[in-house]
Each structure stands twice: as structure tokens, then as C-alpha cells.
């Protein structure tokens, strides 16, 4: 299908991009990997007057170590995140979740920043960012600000990125040595999650010292399963105790109903998958 007419700019710095965005006003759209934006344009569900392509700003693709954090540029493609040794070592949960995103073609184009800015509740990376307390670096005309994950996801397809602002970097604390697993349930092998559970555990002497659990597609935003986390802490990672803790997985959720899964089925899946995610992480 053919998108409606739009102007195209390709700035070479974040400052240029921000000013192009401000000039473009309401009607401007950022283009990252285009894997979500282009279908929207082609189906004519959106008709922006100007599309600002961030592909000409090389530093936005970088992944680096910054003290006790791993800083990932918003334009780092899923493929780069997945292959990166720093990410594997310190934020293994992100590698694992990214590996489940779509197919190799989409992963070469789609970006971490694009996926998080898009904030599709069925997307896989939001729950990871939330569970791991990532920070979002957002640039605007008056400089940059940093937003914690807990405040980043506002509603479905809505984040804390304001008008005229650009997400430039996502910073993950290091979880070196943590046991992690992303348990995804989908309709076909290369698709968004029906429900998924992101689990990161610090296991000490056979019992769970810290737990971070994020849920995908159990509400309009990614959801932190704090009830499960609390129930896990101090417990041994045995099937029975984990399953008992997983019963808390639906607390605070508002599962959607759609053609793939009605809410009650999603709730059931959330519990089963939470149990599996935690047990798999614990090894």
C-alpha cells in the first residue's frame, strides 16, 4: 500500500532532530527502524506531514558501559542488542527478550528505542525495562532529562516522551550474575506476545534473595508483578514455592481480550508462565 504524501528529513545530530521536530509541530513523526511506523503509514492510519529519520545520527546506535550502567542508544537495532557482549553479561534478560522479538529481518531494522517509544503493550521489551528499572534519556529543546521506567509507560501507545522530544538512550543498571529468563507465549513463532513474563533473580545459597518480575500484555502498559516478587523473596526456588508465588501474578493487571485470548485465559497464562519463568531463571 502507498502512504499519503509526507516530507522527509534526515538530521545528522540530536539537536537538529529536535529542532526539525519542533518545526514539524503536531504532525511530525520520528522514524527509527520503521517496523511499526511504516505499516501505520502504509495502511494510512497516520498521515504525518514530515517524517524525521534518526538513521543519520551514528551515536544513537552505540552500546557502551557507563560506570554501573549499560547505556544503549535508542537507535541500536534489536540485532545489535542481541549480539552485544556487554548486554549479555550485565543485562542478560534484555538479550533473552530481544531474541524473541519478531524475525531476523525485523530485528535488523527495528530498534530498542523505537520499540519502547512505540509502547505497544504486546511488545516484549517494556516489561524488561520496567522490571530492571531502566532509565530513559529524553532530549528536548531545553536539554535532556531522565525518566525512570516506572514513570515512562503511561498508557497504551503512550509514554513520558513529550511533544518535541526524542528518546536518545536507555540505561540499564548492571545485573551481573543474576539469573534471568524471558518466557513468551505467542500465537505464531515470530509474533508479539499474547502474554510473556520477564524474570530476574538473585539467588543466594539456594534461596531467592531478590526478584524482579515484569509482565507483557497484561494491561495497557507493562506491569511489575510486585506481589510475586515479594512472595518469592526468601523462598527456595522449588516448584511448589514458586507456583504458590506465581498465583499473585494477576494482581494489579487488567488483561485485554482479543481474538487470540480473552482476559481469563490471559490471567491463567500469566500465572503459569510466571511459574515457568522463575523456575527457568533459577535453573
Amino acid at each position: 500500500m502507498i502512504p499519503a504524501k509526507f516530507d522527509y528529513v534526515r538530521p545528522s545530530s540530536v539537536e537538529e532532530a529536535v529542532s526539525a521536530l519542533q518545526q514539524g509541530g503536531d504532525d511530525a513523526k520520528i522514524l527509527a527502524g520503521g517496523q511499526s511506523l511504516l505499516p501505520v503509514l502504509r495502511l494510512r492510519l497516520a498521515a504525518p506531514s514530515v517524517v524525521i529519520d534518526l538513521g543519520g545520527i551514528p551515536e544513537l546506535r552505540q552500546i557502551s558501559e557507563d560506570g554501573d550502567r549499560i547505556a544503549i542508544g535508542a537507535m541500536a537495532p534489536h540485532h545489535d542488542v542481541l549480539r552485544d557482549d556487554l548486554v549479555k553479561q550485565h543485562v542478560s534478560l534484555l538479550s533473552q527478550a530481544t531474541a524473541t522479538v519478531a524475525d531476523p529481518q525485523v530485528r535488523h531494522r527495528g530498534t530498542l528505542g523505537g520499540a519502547l517509544a512505540h509502547a505497544d503493550p504486546a511488545g516484549d521489551l517494556g516489561a524488561v525495562a520496567l522490571a530492571l528499572d531502566a532509565e530513559f534519556v529524553i532530549a528536548g529543546s531545553s536539554g535532556t532529562r531522565t525518566v525512570p521506567a516506572a514513570e515512562f509507560f503511561v498508557d497504551y501507545f503512550t509514554t513520558a516522551i513529550g511533544e518535541g522530544e526524542i528518546l536518545t538512550q536507555v540505561r540499564f543498571p548492571k545485573y551481573t550474575g543474576w539469573s534471568t529468563h524471558y518466557e513468551k507465549f505467542n500465537r505464531t513463532a515470530q509474533a508479539w506476545s499474547m502474554v510473556a513474563v520477564a524474570a530476574a533473580l538473585r539467588v543466594e545459597g539456594g534461596s531467592i534473595a531478590e526478584a524482579r518480575i515484569g509482565l507483557t500484555n497484561m494491561g495497557t502498559t507493562p506491569i511489575r508483578a510486585t506481589g510475586v516478587e515479594q512472595a518469592l523473596v526468601g523462598q527456595p526456588a522449588t516448584a511448589d514455592s514458586v507456583r504458590a508465588a506465581a498465583e499473585h501474578a494477576t494482581e494489579g493487571t487488567a488483561a485485554p481480550s482479543d481474538a487470540d485470548a480473552a482476559a481469563d485465559y490471559r490471567e491463567h497464562l500469566a500465572k503459569v508462565l510466571t511459574g515457568r519463568a522463575v523456575l527457568a531463571a533459577a535453573g
Binding site: 500500500m1 502507498i2 499519503a4 504524501k5 513523526k29 520520528i30 517496523q35 511499526s36 511506523l37 505499516p39 501505520v40 503509514l41 495502511l43 494510512r44 492510519l45 497516520a46 498521515a47 524475525d103 517509544a117 512505540h118 509502547a119 505497544d120 503493550p121 504486546a122 511488545g123 497504551y156 501507545f157 503512550t158 509514554t159 516522551i161 507465549f185 500465537r187 505464531t188 513463532a189 515470530q190 509474533a191 508479539w192 499474547m194 500484555n217 495497557t220 485485554p256 481480550s257 482479543d258 481474538a259 487470540d260 485470548a261 480473552a262 482476559a263 481469563d264 485465559y265 491463567h268 497464562l269 503459569v272 508462565l273
Partner: protein
């Protein structure tokens, strides 16, 4: 010019890589949309968003003013008020067939129906302007459910027809004299404590054919003949039907199907868009192109399947089947497709399948709804039938407490009983169900899997194992013309071929079959190389252009090899016959003494001989040839088969079901297909693989869903869940060959086999995994949610299904929020 083939290496049976692949895979070929004669104008169709509505106004003023626009037309503006799209299969004399207009006149009957058309300099400008056409609609009630559509007082799709029933077609073996009366068989079974009656209702969901290349048509009216390029399976039928529909003399039309990217039956129709493009090109005197988008394709290209099947089977307690009764409701959609009404009828002859069933009755009632029309889709009627019978055989096995494979064997036609005339009056020429089944069991390790299944049940494993069986046959190679005539099909079933021997000994073969991904060029070249004893590389296959291949009935129903291939063989025989006369003349021998083998004409008992290439050159020079003969080896043949071809096979699926989540996993799939002699094993295997993927997809993944307003809610590849290679295991496929006796090559069709066979194997396997939990049936596709709910219900835990909000985020469009159609994505 004495190149001779290596006599030891026959082409027949060689797993040659397809010669067409290089140009297809590297993108060097040109599909219809890549053909743009100078001055081409582009078309965009304005389509109805509503399923059923009266059109109260169409305002084209703004669209006409848009940049690049040449014109905006309604059906009246095209002078096409009286034009109706053809339906070539009146299954009964009183079949009700509404006129399908080129563009809707005063009422739209399905969402996606064309209402107006924009012509512009570029496709983008046409699309932009199409968005500016304002259509006012007065909504009418949609008609969505077949049973409701037939009920008293139902809203009528076409009020002038007075009913939503298009036709009811019946076959009764008692009346036909080919078997007993089913009514008697059922009555007898009900009265007899030593017999059982099993009744089941199955649903064949609606599917989208999902071929790779969307449909496209380019018409150039500037020459003496109007040239039509179309992404069609049926260029010859398109030519004839364009004449029938628009009255343009056939001689003034040249139709070209260039390389076509798949069809699966989905490109068998004659399209309103094709006729519209012809009308526009003639009106404007310029080339015009229509290419649909993927969304238009999914919404408006005909769909497949969509039947409700009520089956009753009767049997003695010892397992002997005594009768089968089949009642179908078949959803035609809003109009009748070119052969749509006949699709369920094709299934009529296949519900009895490989079994000896003494009494049989089949009835289909074809119903109009306000949905996209249905028509042929890979297997066309036969997958539906095979599903029905293979499912109910399993149900009968459960009822009788029998091993399902043994129950099948008890009732199937034994190898020594061939040729066998079935309860439908068809004569199966050959088959060996024992051989295919024994081999499949061995490859599958059937007994070991049954043991594993028992162990998992015993242990109460979270993951249960089921074994799915389908012992299918099908009738293909459509078809003997007289049989088609007796079914009131609007064409014959022959196929044409010509062979031209060029001066240099190279060979051009012209076929009326029209490939769209099957590999005809390779397989046909192999046949001709052997027949004429020339190198494979010296054979060129020409097809898909009525200028070079004027005669043909095209490609569908697994007919290309078993009908078209035989026509080529016959033409080759005629070439040899003629060449023999010239060889005898040149070698100064009696024709009776000339022998032909591996491209050499030799005089019996001597070392004198001439190669076929030398004879071809001699015929071209024409300096010295027999009196009373034309100096040419070129030959034509038309082959009308005497019978269908009846491939068969045994398919086994190991299905794992995660009883906690309902997740179904196809662990292992084995099929052993008997497709007679095999020209090219690589192509045959490719056909089986693709066919399996499509059949498995029906069982596990695909369904075209309409909401209560008649809107197709999963009309993109994001939410119409087509499986990819990542969703399927490696298949174990094998071919055994019981040669067909109905044609000289001993071949049977293979194009649809995998699709026909696999669907019931999968569903039977899923049920076999959870039957002990009390689950009796699960509708297709057997998604994890459906499986989970079925288990919950069987265990007495009623699940509270939340009403499905198809417009919630994540409801398919994945990354697109349909609640926010303006797409304010941040």
C-alpha cells in the same frame, strides 16, 4: 547437429533443480505489476467499508480535482450497468445466481466491494484521490450466519432472489443405483443393537488463499489486439470469459499470464477488476494498470472453505461401515464465483474416500451471506470432504473402542480389489493403501509412539501426546470432459499441446497449462527430452500467452501433469511418427523397419541411422522428403482424460498438547504419498511440503474472522496468522508408486495432496492427546485458547469467556492501535 542424449540417463525420475528458479529467485522475472507500457494510467478502487448497505450518493468532485487524476468513474460512467461477472458452474438447473456487477450499483453486498474507480498518472495519485471520493451509505443488516440466513424472515442478501439459498445439490447412491439407501441404513442401524450411529457436526472455517503475488492486471488497447496481462492461473479462460462478459471478439484479445506468483486456486476467477481495467483502457485509449494492495487482496480476493458439515455414519459393532450421510451448508459469500458453487460438489465424490461404503448420500446447500465470495482453494471441496470423513472415522473408532488405523484398514479397498468402482460411481484405477500405511507406520515408529502416549497418560504428564491419522485419497487431474458435462460445469477438461521442431534440432513445446509456481517448465522438459531423445537443455516450454499458446484450459485441480503432460506426450508421439517417415525416406528403408530410440532413427538390423535433429533439419530444408507429406514435424495434440487420477497416502502426526496452557506442538509429521510414477522427485516433494504447510495451517493457525457487522477483522498478515517455517517441524515425506493405469505415463496429481490430507491428521492428533481428559471436539483452528477451554470444560471447570473486544490493542494489528485510527502513535 548430431548431438544425442546420453541413452543411459533418463530424465524421467531425475531430481532436477527447477530451471525457472534462477529467474524467479533472483527477481529477474517480470510479474504483471512490473509491466508498464508507455503512457500507462493507474487505477485505484474505492471500496465499501460496510458489508451491506444502500449507496445513497457518490461525490467524486474533489477526487476529480486531485493532482494527476484522469477521471473518476462509477459503474454507470463505465457504461457497464448491464455487465455481469460470469459464473460457469450452475450446479442445478434452478441455481439462483445474482448478477455480480463490475462495481456495485445501488447496493454493496460485502465489505471490500468496489464502488468507484479512480484513474491517475501514478498509482500513488490514484490512491490519494480514492481517499477523496465521498460515498454515502444507508446501512442494511449484514447476513453472516448460514443457518440464520436460511431461516424464515431472514434479511436477504439479494431480495430479488427471494431467498438466501442459491441451490441444493444431492447425490444419493440409492437413487443413482451405485449403492444402497442411506435412510434405510440409518433406520436399520438405529433399530439394531449390534450397530452404532455416530452423528457429528464439523466446521470448515473460512480461509484466505494468501498467494504471494497480489493480483494485478494491465490492459493495452492500442494495438490490433487488446493485450491483457494478468496475474491469473487461467489466461485461456480469461480470454473466453472476457468475450462472454464484454462482447469483445475473442480474436481481438490476447491474454498473457507472465510469471505468476502463486495462486492456490485464488487466481482461478475472472475478476470485476480485470473487466473494469479492460473497459477503462478501451474508454481512454491508453494502457491501464490495476494492482491491488495486500489489504485489498485479503479482503476481496475470493476466500476458501467455509462449510458446516453434518455427518452421520453407521456401522456394525464389528466395525464394518454400513452407511454415510453428509449434509453441508456452504457459504458462497455475496455472489457466486466462477466455479464457487461447484466446490462443495467436488467434495461429493470424496466423502467415501478410500472406504467401501455400501450406502451414501450427499447434500450441499449453497448459501449467500454478505461476506467475500468463496471459490476454489487448494483442494477445492476435497480437503473439506477428507476432513469430514477422516474425523468421523476417528469418532467411530472411539465409539467402538477400536484402534483407528485398524478400523480404517478393515473398511478400505484392498489392493487386490482395484480397479474399484465406488459408491459414487467413480472407478479408482489403482492404489495400495496397505503399502503406504505400512511404510508410514515404520517411518513414524507408530508402535513406539503409542507406547509413549500410554506412558504419558499413566503418569499424568503435563504434556500429552496424540497420534493423528489421515488415510486420504483424492480425485484430481480435472477432468474427463464428459463427466464435467454431466455436472453442468461450464467447460471441458481437456488440455492442448504443440511441439515445434526447430531447424537446428531444438524443441519448442507449447502447453495450455499455465504454471504459477509449479515448475512445469522443468518437468515438461524432462518428459519431452526422454520422448524425443534430445538433451533437457534443448527443450523450451512456452505457456501463458494466447498468442503462442492459443488453446488451453489452464492450471488447477492438480491437472497440469496428468492432463497437460499427457497431451505433450501425445504430441511428441506424433512428431516421432512424422520423423519416422522422413527417416525411412532418407535412409531408403521401409518405414516398418525404422526403429526409434534415444533420439536415433535406425534401420533394423543395420548400423544405418539418423538423429532426430538431422531429421528436423531435413524437414526444414525440405529438399528431399516423401511424396504426399507436409515438410514438417510439428504436431498438435489435445488430450481428454478418460478418468480422474486418484493419488492417495497415509499421513501421521505426533501432536503434543501442553494441558496447562493449551499449547499445541506438532512434533513429528510423516507422510507416504502414492502419486504413481514421478517425473521429478524434487518438485513432487516441494509440492507435498507446501501442501502440508497449508493444510496444517488450517488445522492450527488460520481463520478469516468477521465481526458482527460483517467486517473482516484480521485482514493483514499481522493478525491473519499464517505460519512460517519457524512454526513447523521438518517433515518426513516419502513417495511410493503404484502407477496409474489411466494414462500412458502412469502419473497421478500431487499439487493438492498435502493440503487435502494433513488437516484431519492434525486435528485427530490434537483430540487424541486430550480425549482421555473428556474432550470430544475442538474447532479449527485448534488454538491454544480453544484447547485450554475445551480441557477446562471437559473437567467441569466452566471458563468465563470474557467477550472478545476485537478492537483492543494487541488484537492483531499488534503495533497499530485500531482505537486510534488517526494513528497518534505518540
Amino acid at each position: 547437429m548430431t548431438a544425442t542424449a546420453d541413452t543411459t540417463a533418463l530424465e524421467f525420475g531425475k531430481a532436477r533443480v527447477r530451471k525457472e528458479d534462477a529467474r524467479l529467485i533472483t527477481g529477474r522475472t517480470r510479474y504483471t505489476d512490473a509491466i508498464t507500457p508507455p503512457g500507462t494510467l493507474h487505477v485505484a478502487v474505492v471500496r465499501s467499508p460496510l458489508a451491506h448497505a444502500r449507496i445513497t450518493g457518490i461525490d467524486t468532485a474533489e477526487a476529480k480535482r486531485a493532482p494527476g487524476v484522469h477521471g473518476v468513474y462509477t459503474v454507470s460512467d463505465l457504461g457497464a450497468d448491464e455487465v455481469g461477472m460470469p459464473c460457469a458452474w450452475p450446479i442445478t438447473p434452478d441455481q439462483k445466481a445474482p448478477q455480480r456487477p463490475v462495481l456495485a450499483k445501488d447496493t454493496v453486498h460485502f465489505a471490500g466491494e468496489g464502488v468507484a474507480v479512480v484513474v491517475a498518472r501514478s498509482a500513488a495519485e490514484a490512491k490519494d484521490a480514492a481517499d477523496l471520493v465521498e460515498v454515502d451509505y444507508d446501512p442494511l443488516d449484514p447476513v453472516l450466519d448460514m443457518e440464520a440466513a436460511l431461516a424464515e424472515g431472514a434479511t436477504l442478501v439479494h431480495p430479488d432472489l427471494g431467498t438466501n439459498e442459491s441451490a441444493t445439490w444431492v447425490f444419493d447412491s440409492g437413487e443413482a443405483g451405485t449403492g444402497g439407501s442411506v435412510a434405510d441404513a440409518i433406520a436399520a442401524a438405529e433399530a439394531d443393537p449390534d450397530q452404532v450411529v455416530v452423528r457429528r457436526r464439523f466446521r470448515q472455517q473460512r480461509l484466505v488463499p494468501a498467494f504471494m503475488e497480489p493480483r494485478s492486471c494491465v490492459v493495452d488497447p492500442t494495438g490490433e489486439q487488446i493485450v491483457i496481462w494478468s496475474a491469473t492461473q487461467v489466461p485461456h479462460i480469461l480470454r473466453t470469459m472476457t468475450t462472454v462478459t464484454l462482447g469483445i471478439p475473442e480474436s481481438k484479445l490476447r491474454v498473457i499470464a507472465p510469471d505468476v506468483g502463486g495462486g492456490f486456486g485464488g487466481k482461478i476467477g475472472v475478476l470485476p477488476e480485470e473487466m473494469m481495467t479492460v473497459l477503462l483502457a478501451r474508454k481512454l485509449g491508453r494502457p491501464v494498470k490495476w494492482t491491488e494492495t495486500r489489504s485489498e487482496c485479503m479482503l476481496t480476493a475470493h476466500h476458501g472453505r467455509d462449510q458446516i458439515q453434518d455427518l452421520t455414519i453407521t456401522a456394525k459393532k464389528d466395525g464394518t461401515i454400513t452407511g454415510l450421510d453428509v449434509r453441508l451448508l456452504a457459504d458462497m459469500g455475496a455472489y457466486l464465483g466462477l466455479v464457487g458453487p461447484g466446490v462443495p460438489v467436488l467434495g461429493a465424490f470424496m466423502f467415501n474416500a478410500i472406504y467401501k461404503i455400501p450406502a451414501y448420500r450427499f447434500q450441499t446447500t449453497n448459501v449467500f451471506t454478505t461476506k467475500t465470495l468463496t471459490d476454489a482453494y487448494r483442494g477445492a471441496g476435497r480437503p473439506e470432504a477428507t476432513f469430514g470423513v477422516e474425523r468421523i472415522i476417528d469418532e467411530l473408532a472411539v465409539e467402538l473402542g477400536r484402534e483407528p488405523l485398524e478400523l480404517r484398514e478393515q473398511n478400505w479397498i484392498k489392493h487386490e480389489e482395484f480397479p474399484f468402482t465406488t459408491v459414487c460411481g467413480l472407478t479408482y484405477d489403482s492404489g495400495n493403501y496397505e503399502q503406504a500405511t505400512a511404510r508410514a507406520k515404520e517411518l513414524f515408529d507408530y508402535d513406539a509412539l503409542r507406547r509413549e502416549q500410554a506412558e504419558r497418560r499413566e503418569r499424568g504428564d503435563k504434556v500429552q501426546l496424540g497420534i493423528g491419522i489421515s488415510t486420504f485419497t483424492e480425485m484430481c487431474g480435472l477432468a474427463p470432459s464428459r463427466v464435467l458435462g454431466s455436472l453442468a460445469y461450464g467447460a471441458g477438461g481437456w488440455e492442448a499441446a504443440s511441439i515445434r521442431m526447430l531447424a537446428t534440432g531444438k524443441v519448442e513445446v507449447i502447453t495450455g497449462a499455465s504454471a504459477h509456481g509449479q515448475g512445469h517448465e522443468t518437468a515438461f522438459s524432462q518428459i519431452v527430452a526422454d520422448k524425443l531423445g534430445v538433451p533437457f537443455e534443448d527443450v523450451e516450454i512456452l505457456h501463458g500467452d494466447t498468442a503462442s499458446s492459443p488453446k488451453g484450459l489452464d492450471t488447477y485441480g492438480s491437472r497440469s501433469l496428468v492432463v497437460g503432460g499427457i497431451a505433450i506426450t501425445m504430441a511428441a508421439d506424433k512428431v516421432i511418427e512424422k520423423a519416422k517417415k522422413i527417416a525411412a525416406h532418407l535412409l531408403e528403408a521401409d518405414e516398418a523397419d525404422i526403429e526409434f530410440s534415444a533420439g536415433q532413427f535406425t534401420v533394423r538390423g543395420t548400423d544405418k541411422g539418423k538423429a532426430i535433429q538431422e531429421i528436423a533439419f531435413a524437414a526444414f530444408m525440405a529438399h528431399d522428403y516423401p511424396e504426399g507429406m507436409e515438410p514438417s514435424l510439428d504436431s498438435d495434440a489435445v488430450y481428454d482424460p478418460e478418468n480422474f487420477s486418484f493419488p492417495h497416502g497415509t499421513h501421521l502426526a505426533a501432536m503434543e498438547v501442553d494441558t496447562e496452557t493449551g499449547r499445541v506442538n506438532l512434533r513429528h509429521y510423516v507422510c507416504v504419498d502414492d502419486i504413481g510414477n514421478v517425473v521429478n522427485p524434487l518438485i513432487a516433494e516441494g509440492q507435498v511440503h507446501g501442501g502440508l504447510a497449508q493444510g496444517i495451517a488450517q488445522a492450527l493457525f488460520e481463520e478469516a474472522n468477521y465481526d458482527d457487522q460483517g467486517t473482516l477483522v484480521n485482514g493483514t498478515f499481522v493478525d491473519y496468522t499464517l505460519p512460517s517455517a519457524a512454526d513447523l517441524p521438518s517433515f518426513t515425506t516419502e513417495i511410493v508408486s503404484t502407477p496409474a493405469t489411466s494414462n500412458p505415463l502412469g502419473v497421478k496429481g500431487v499439487g493438492e495432496a498435502g493440503t487435502i490430507a494433513s488437516t484431519p491428521a492434525i486435528v485427530n492428533g490434537v483430540l487424541d492427546a486430550v480425549r482421555h481428559l473428556g474432550v470430544a471436539d475442538i474447532q479449527m483452528p485448534t488454538t491454544s485458547q480453544r484447547v485450554w477451554r475445551a480441557i477446562q470444560e471437559a473437567q467441569g471447570r466452566s471458563t468465563q469467556e470474557t467477550p472478545i473486544d476485537t478492537h483492543s490493542p494487541g488484537a492483531g494489528l499488534g503495533s497499530i492501535d485500531p482505537n486510534n485510527p488517526q494513528g497518534e502513535v505518540q
